[in-house]
């Protein structure tokens, strides 16, 4: 269970989030819409424990992560949270197979298992013929899909996805959204997607709009 209570965030003189509050239950697919600069990425960064809110509380299973220790937040990122950030940065010295299964490498999973999982995910993401390529040899859309694969590998309880369909055609967008939705349903995970794409509305169970630093449920 995720609860966001009256969260404020300011960058210099600009207050990006002005008392954002909402709840996400396990198994929910929450879509956050909003124009560019409305604070969607900032909100996801706060939920991903990468940014701290200036005020307000973010409760994950009842524990306020806004005031938690660095060790606790690191552990949350390791076990609980999966974050598909907008820039699609990957490790350039690893090929796609290793990048997708990076969470498994860190956890010490055997190579045969990793390869099997990577092949399965790559097939679903339309990246089967790219597993030996390096990030610099991939398009932005391919990297986005690979990053989604990397996060799915973690099997997170809370999945945060920033613009999952950016730079993807409709067919690939549907493929990605279905994959995310399947994952949510099969693992009863919370899925929060920040997007412009109205296609996401077809999959979301709750839709919010973030405007002028405030969030409104549709």
């Amino acid at each position: 269970m995720l609860e966001i209570l009256n969260v404020h965030k300011r960058f210099g003189s600009i207050e990006v989030l002005k008392g954002v509050s909402f709840k996400v239950k396990p198994g929910e697919f929450v879509a956050v819409f909003g124009p560019s600069g409305s604070g969607k990425t900032t909100l996801l960064n706060i939920l991903a424990t990468i940014l701290h809110p200036d005020r307000g509380e973010v409760l994950i299973d009842g524990r306020n992560i806004a005031r938690a220790s660095e060790d606790f937040l690191t552990a949350l990122r390791f076990d609980y949270i999966g974050y598909v950030y907008q820039s699609c940065k990957m490790i350039n010295s690893l090929n796609l197979l290793d990048n997708i299964t990076l969470p498994l490498i860190i956890k010490g999973e055997s190579k045969s298992n990793r390869v099997r999982i990577a092949i399965e995910l790559a097939e679903k993401l339309g990246l089967s013929n790219r597993l030996k390529n390096y990030p610099s040899q991939l398009s932005f859309g391919e990297r986005k899909r690979a990053l989604i694969g990397m996060v799915l590998c973690k099997k997170p309880k809370l999945m945060l996805v920033d613009e999952p369909t950016a730079n993807l055609d409709e067919s690939n967008s549907r493929c990605v959204l279905e994959l995310l939705d399947d994952f949510r349903q099969s693992h009863n995970s919370m899925l929060i997607v920040a997007t412009h794409d109205s296609l996401v509305k077809e999959y979301a169970t709750k839709i919010y709009t973030l405007t002028d630093g405030k969030i409104i449920e549709e």
Partner: protein, 362 residues
């Protein structure tokens, strides 16, 4: 987890190898120069602090052995110093001995005056056999003035006392000065070897010696070099200068470490951001960053710098550069300071790391 993460760092390093090599080369040049500077006191104190590491060394032998004897041999001999066999050595024939390192000659009174030796040893020489060797050779063999050098060739042994240690010069053909009789012997044996001989009736004829030497180009040059070296030694033994160079160099090196850590950090921003997002603890990343720098320094920068400095001192300058305990302490201090500094720098950089900022850069 640590090893898994470090493997990723190694892959990152390999990927940027071309760039890394350029940076490492620059570091090596600077550090080898610093090594050279800090080893100067040991180098100049050569004659006082021996004996040195005994190492196998190509020793060209001639002198008391006639040319015919040498030719009959299989060009192999054993050199025994202080009762220890140093190893098999090649024996050269007359036509190949222009660059010999040891000469065994008769009656070295004149030669002694131009060497760095303690004249007290000269008085001990009663026989006809003595050797003057250069500092480099002495360092390699681990001998000092007064030590006995035994050259054993097949069944023939020749022992001689090291009576002089010369600073070698870039004029390789002018390492040993001997008296007339020896000159005749040597000149006959080695036409390519330049010898200057001086007739001295007794030790007091120093003026005659100087005058005689001044007539010879090589001799004059030799004296100039010796005087130059004396001046150099005096300057280098000025401890303030050495200290300033030492500490100044250390500051420069630590600045380089600081800079290198920043560069490593910058080149790994993506990797660090991705790993942190996946929940890798900052302290693991700090340790990996420090370990990478430490390995680079221990395996590459320090050894290559040391080899370069030693090569420069021994082959260009012509002196023996000992790796003594002082030098080892300096290297350890340098390494420890570098690693400690890199640990602090990487800790600070990781503490200030703007993860959200890096992730938002497209």
């Amino acid at each position: 987890m640590f090893l898994k993460i470090f493997k990723i760092f190694i892959k990152d390093f390999k990927r940027s190898l071309r760039w890394e090599i350029k940076y490492i080369l620059a570091l090596v040049l600077i550090i080898s120069y610093w090594f050279f500077i800090v080893s100067i006191p040991s180098i100049t104190a050569f004659n006082e602090v021996g004996p040195y590491k005994v190492a196998q060394y190509d020793l060209y032998v001639t002198g008391p052995l006639s040319e015919n004897t040498i030719k009959k041999l299989d060009r192999e001999a054993k050199v025994i110093v202080k009762g220890k066999t140093i190893g098999d050595i090649p024996v050269c024939s007359s036509s190949r001995c222009e660059n010999m390192d040891v000469l065994i000659v008769n009656n070295l009174t004149t030669a002694l005056r131009l060497t760095e030796i303690n004249l007290a040893y000269a008085k001990e020489i009663k026989g006809n056999k003595g050797a003057v060797i250069d500092t480099f050779t002495a360092g390699k063999l681990g001998v000092r003035v007064g030590d006995t050098l035994t050259i054993h060739v097949k069944n023939v042994s020749a022992s001689c006392k090291v009576v002089g240690i010369l600073y070698p010069t870039s004029v390789t053909r002018y390492r040993v000065l001997v008296d007339e009789k020896s000159v005749q012997n040597i000149s006959n044996l080695f036409p390519g070897y330049s010898c200057v001989w001086l007739k001295l009736k007794n030790k007091s004829e120093e003026n005659n010696l100087i005058q005689s030497l001044s007539k010879s180009y090589y001799a004059v040059k030799r004296i100039d070099i010796l005087r130059g070296r004396e001046n150099m030694v005096e300057n280098l033994q000025n401890s303030t200068v050495i200290k300033v160079i030492f500490y100044g160099g250390l500051v420069v090196l630590l600045t380089l470490v600081f800079r290198e850590m920043q560069v490593i950090f910058k080149s790994k921003l993506n990797t660090l951001a991705v790993l942190m997002t996946l929940g890798v603890p900052k302290r693991t990343l700090v340790t990996c960053l420090t370990l990478e720098l430490a390995i680079k320094w221990v395996l590459l920068v320090i050894p290559v710098s040391l080899i370069l400095a030693k090569f420069y001192v021994e082959n260009v300058i012509g002196l023996f550069m000992p790796i003594d305990s002082n030098f080892v302490v300096i290297v350890i201090v340098l390494l420890a300071s570098s690693i400690l500094l890199s640990l602090l720098v990487s800790y600070k950089l990781m503490k200030d790391f703007d993860l959200a900022g890096v992730l938002s850069e497209v």
